[in-house]
């Protein structure tokens, strides 16, 4: 297995997430629904993204939800307003596939998401005996399908979503991570990123398939919420392993105050970025201020 070296490009310290726009809230369904109502119109979404941009938060880490295509369109059409606005796509939007599997079965779903070319038809007709390269081609075709909405906007890091990463990780489908890395680098000139709820075992596997210093995004918070295997393992890898850490759920879905949350993050110099979501300009502003205060830039190695 060849070694995949990383692009030394620097990620922003604060990345803006998209859960709030799509009715995802780990603490309350009522709150999730209120947000889904509020962000039904694109204008409401753009107003919040504008507020983040004006606060100096220029990276939007988003799923490949179909509504993101509308956001991309707005950004693409106003290059001056959104100079430097960067997308970190996270694929796939898992519900889309899960629903299709319910509707069409496993193979039927795959067939719907893959282009209708000879390879797929042949693979399915036989019903078995899939060559290694066929599965590889399918993975890359799925990546291309997900990336099509981002044409014409910068996507320097492309992530594989946690449900898929963790499913593959458990199954032992390690090669898929390398296939993803190669394709994202070769075709999109981007760094591969991996979102996971199982940080420690994922780092081992990425190491094994030759992905050096990988970008990995995982739950990291003072409450130890959803840090699989326990917080000790997370502490150990943050102190000892070479990887580019992005912390998510640092507020543990709102259970921690921003001061507490960033105070904890500041204890780990290896955390390069934090991804967070917010619904109002005031909330974004205060989060940015508190982050600057409690987690000052100087605390991050390799940054000016």
């Amino acid at each position: 297995m060849s070694t995949i070296t990383h692009d030394p490009g620097v990620m922003d310290r604060l990345l803006f997430g998209d859960n709030q726009f799509f009715g995802v809230n780990h603490m309350s369904e009522e709150k999730a629904r209120a947000q889904a109502m509020r962000f039904q119109d694109l204008d409401a979404v753009m107003a919040v993204l504008d507020a983040a941009y004006d606060e100096g938060i220029h990276t939007f880490m988003c799923t490949t939800h179909e509504r993101v295509a509308e956001i991309v369109e707005v950004v693409r059409s106003q290059p001056e307003r959104y100079a430097g606005f960067t997308f970190y796509p996270c694929m796939p939007y898992a519900h889309k596939y899960a629903n299709a599997v319910t509707d069409y079965g496993m193979l039927g779903a795959l067939r719907r998401f893959l282009p209708d070319d000879g390879l797929v038809a042949t693979a399915f007709k036989g019903g078995r005996a899939v060559a290694r390269k066929d599965v590889e081609s399918m993975i890359t075709m799925l990546i291309d399908a997900e990336m099509s909405m981002f044409r014409g906007v910068p996507t320097p890091v492309v992530f594989l979503q946690n449900v898929v990463v963790d499913l593959l990780l458990g199954l032992g489908f390690d090669e898929a991570f390398a296939v993803f890395a190669h394709h994202v680098r070769d075709k999109y000139g981007a760094e591969p990123g991996y979102i996971t709820m199982n940080l420690v075992p994922l780092l081992d596997v990425l190491d094994r398939v030759g992905i050096e210093n990988p970008i990995v995004c995982s739950n990291m918070n003072k409450l130890e919420f959803r840090m699989s295997g326990g917080a000790d393992g997370y502490r150990a890898v943050l102190e000892e392993r070479q990887f580019r850490a992005i912390a998510m759920s640092v507020f543990a879905s709102g259970a921690l105050s921003p001061q507490e949350a960033f105070g904890w993050v500041a204890e780990f110099p290896a955390i390069e970025s934090v991804v967070f979501g917010a619904s109002t300009a005031a909330h974004i502003h205060s989060t940015r201020e508190i982050a600057d205060q409690v987690w000052p830039r100087a605390a991050v190695p390799g940054r000016s």
């Binding site: 780990h26 919420f225 259970a255």
Partner: protein
Amino acid sequence: MTTFLDRPAAAVAAGPDSTPTTMLRVAVVGVGKMGLSHLSLLRAHPRVMVEVVCDANGYVLDVLGTHTGLHSATDYAAMLDAVDIDAVVIATPTQAHYPMVRAAIERGLHVFCEKPLTLSSEQSEELARLAEERGVVGQVGYHNRFVAAFAEAERLVEMGAIGTVHHALAEAYGPVVLKPKGGTWRSRRAEGGGCLYDYAAHPLDLMTWFLGEPTAVRGTTLGRVYSADTEDEVYATLEYGGASAQLSVNWSDESYRKMTTRLTLWGSHGRITVDRQECQVYLRESAVAPEGYRHGWNVKYTTELTPPVWFYVRGEEYSAELDYFVRNALGELAPEEAQDLNTFESAAVTDRVIEMLLADAAGAPVTPAPRSPARPAAPTTRRTTTRADRLREIGSTALGGLRRGVDKVRRTMGDKHR
């Protein structure tokens, strides 16, 4: 069970203990959505060796075999004969559960089976008896009992925090069937598809957990929104001795991003509303507030209630239910934890309730089978025994009538409703 002196790499995660560790050798049967998720979790479990994956679909098996090194089989019976295993995890369409579970138990294997256990309570009860006779662990995938918020609510009801429960509302909504045509078994009742088996089974099972077995059901509506061969919505009134409950379930509601299951219980000392995310508790002044609670509103969130799991794919509950099964099969449940979560016996109760609803919807007189509840009733639940006593007297006559009603509904589904 096999003792591995040389533990595989995955087992190292179990800790620095250098003594031989007993591993559970497992076959995963059915690799659809649930099966793949179970397979992923089990392969990551430090005490499990997945020996073989069995599915009728050779394509998925080939991909798994080529890329993960898993051994595979397409013939279940031949696989049981050929491979040394201690347990099977079954995630096939419901129709196939009964013969598969039976064959496994007869070979002395522990069984984890997806819900519902079977399409007939008679068969479920038989499997429960068989499992007991053979001394094997039987567990059914009602994962909500492993959701920390539901477990907390159950603990509160059990300890009498809200007093005597007099009414409950059990709901489940989500976006499963959103157009007239469906191509999989989930859209066919005869194979265990439909909103009742697939969706309503979850809140019904939670009600069984919280309140025991219902004494009667009435007003059952099996309605259609899109489906041709099965129902998309289920509404009913259930009686639990002195408590009444409404069931409201609809799997054709895309205003919910994913399945939402919610239970509300009203008691003499307060109220609880609970879903996967949070447990909202209102305690009257008359209540004795448990530790960590006070009079008035209390909200406990999943973030504080849920301990980390060893490996996470799409929800702690799926990890926790398999971990419980593995430890139970290895005989390693801690004495202080519940010993009987999601047994075949409790799943059979849920299957009986499903049949009561089917019979009621078909207009048959609905009386429950003369069985004891899956677990003793919550001590604070007010119960009247008159009706139940009468039913016991009616005995097998009632059971036969119920089953005839169910058969009738199965035969005529499609003409009777809408």
